[in-house]
């Protein structure tokens, strides 16, 4: 029972991280109908910026976090304007290749600046030693709680933005039907840029949060890539078009991976993601929460 509780809490924490990455991917997907494969690279890069501030220049944790998020917003906006805009209406695969190119570029740039060989650990925001229950210690710490709550707050904020504000309404209109939105006076181009910027800002937050959960996490190529894949899987499970679905998909995936890791085998984590994904898609080929039809790759 104690083991099950631990696995559930562990799965929940990881799941919230996957959910946030999934949400960032869904925001970009809704805005531009592009799967942003550079998401992992972008959040790796912003996490390095935070690392440089916090560990090299001894900046305050929160200052580094804010700088990372701002950097993410800038990188996302610039990427959309400079790289994605020209291929947005071209063949869909070209957009895929462009985001892959950006991913590779960011990995190389991070390697050039910070090096590939050192181990970069990032501090957690709060105590990472688990809560005590009687004489036993949970695999769930104040820092994990902070991760879960941060993502929850962001999810709620995004929900309010999308559902309750005029800006959010315009973003959704642009996502669903940019041409009609334009006819109604929505400045479509700006909102696409904004969509990318917000998604990248969210990614930057995730990067800093997750970096504090494991030693040696911050490297140009590595754990952040896996994050993208789990986030993508979660987004597809949820239905790609649905922010709520992304969150549910993330948590479901986190829990399944946590249980399977312990009860089956620790060596085939990504295999579980594959099995879950295929199982979901065989039952619902467009994810669990998708209502709309997709337009293109």
């Amino acid at each position: 029972m104690f083991r099950f509780l631990n696995l559930t809490l562990n799965g929940l924490t990881n799941g919230m991280i996957y959910a946030a990455v999934a949400l960032a991917l869904v925001m970009i997907w809704r805005a531009t109908r592009i799967v942003n494969f550079a998401q992992g690279g972008m959040l790796m890069f912003t996490t390095f910026i935070a690392w440089d501030l916090a560990q090299v220049h001894h900046a305050n944790y929160w200052v580094a976090l804010v700088v990372a998020v701002v950097a993410g917003i800038l990188i996302g906006g610039v990427a959309e304007r400079v790289l994605v805009r020209p291929v947005e209406n071209g063949p869909p695969l070209n957009a895929v290749i462009v985001t892959l190119g950006l991913l590779i570029f960011l990995q190389a740039l991070a390697g050039m600046i910070w090096g590939n060989s050192q181990a970069h650990s990032y501090p957690p925001a709060f105590r990472f030693i688990g809560y005590k229950v009687g004489d036993r210690t949970l695999r769930f710490s104040p820092n994990d709680l902070f991760i879960v709550l941060s993502v929850l707050v962001v999810v709620i904020a995004l929900y309010v933005l999308f559902q309750r504000t005029s800006l959010g309404l315009q973003m959704r209109a642009t996502a669903f039907n940019p041409e009609v939105a334009g006819l109604l006076g929505v400045r479509v181009g700006r909102l696409l840029t904004l969509g990318w910027a917000l998604a990248a800002g969210l990614g930057a937050l995730v990067g800093v949060l997750v970096a504090g959960t494991s030693s040696g996490y911050v490297t140009p190529v590595g754990p952040f890539d896996a994050l993208l894949i789990y986030g993508f899987t979660a987004a597809v499970i949820g239905g790609l078009d649905s922010p709520g679905g992304a969150v549910v998909g993330g948590v479901v995936l986190g829990l399944i991976l946590s249980y399977a890791d312990s009860y089956i085998s620790n060596f085939i984590q990504t295999m579980y993601a594959l099995v879950v994904l295929i199982a979901v898609l065989m039952i619902r080929p467009k994810g669990i929460f998708s209502r709309t039809s997709e337009r293109r790759v």
Binding site: S166, L169, R172, A173, N177, L183, L184, G185, R291, T292
Partner: protein, 235 residues
């Protein structure tokens, strides 16, 4: 109010509009008639800036429309209801309507406009929080017109509102247009293939064929011209 002079619009080698001129007076309904491919939709798209013409002038209340950006056109009081209705089916009725009044910041005015629209189109009021894809064809057309009206336009550009609708619904919509002209001094440019119903509400009309104006004049006269009806209007 709206003046179109010698406008030429081309798609590649095709001249979709070939020297079209027309004048629209305030508080009137102008029907633009003609067969498929005559250039009717292109005329509307050229007027609101979605397509840039190759030559000619378009002015609205004395201002040059050719130098104006699409979203600025909306702010100047010109609303466009595109062909195929263009409601965003994923959004609710209410959200679609709100999109029509984006640039208006005043909340009470917004609420007032919403109330007016639900009064004008009662079927929409019943479904205000349903996604638009649950609406019938006629209801979608109503929603599209209502959304255009949300911006309090003085000029409404309507593209084929009767397409695919039952005659009874078409008649309802035409009736509403007449009411808006009479009660709110709305000016309407109505592109239609269904010439009979369009002429029944219009003050004046032009007939396009292969990008040129073949006839223009008061709607009553056109409706009475037997030859014209046979040659271009099909009734």
């Amino acid at each position: 109010m709206l003046t179109v002079e010698d406008v030429v619009t081309t798609y590649g080698a095709v001249r979709a509009l070939d020297g079209v001129s027309m004048t629209v007076e305030p508080s009137t309904i102008t029907a633009v008639l003609g067969a498929n491919g005559a250039g009717k939709t292109t005329l509307l798209r050229t007027v609101n800036g979605l397509v840039r013409p190759r030559a000619g002038r378009i002015s609205y209340e004395g201002r040059d429309l050719l130098r104006t950006h699409v979203d600025e056109v909306v702010r100047m009081g010109i609303a466009h209801v595109p062909e195929g209705r263009g409601v965003i089916t994923e959004l609710t009725v209410d959200e679609n309507l709100r999109l029509g009044a984006l640039w208006r910041r005043n909340r009470t005015e917004l609420q007032q406009s919403l109330a007016e629209m639900y009064e004008l189109f009662p079927p929409l009021a019943e479904r205000r929080n349903k996604p638009a894809d649950t609406l019938s064809g006629g209801e979608r057309q109503m929603l599209a017109i209502a959304r255009a009206l949300m911006s309090r336009p003085r000029l409404l550009l309507l593209d084929e509102p009767s397409l695919g609708l039952a005659p009874r619904i078409t008649a309802q919509i035409m009736g509403t247009l007449r009411r808006l002209r009479d009660e709110q001094s709305l000016t309407v440019v109505l592109v239609e293939q269904n010439a009979r119903s369009a002429l029944s509400v219009s003050d004046q009309a032009i007939v396009l064929n292969l990008g040129r104006v073949v006839v223009s004049g008061p709607a009553v006269e056109l409706a009475a011209d037997e030859k014209l009806r046979h040659a271009y209007l099909g009734f």
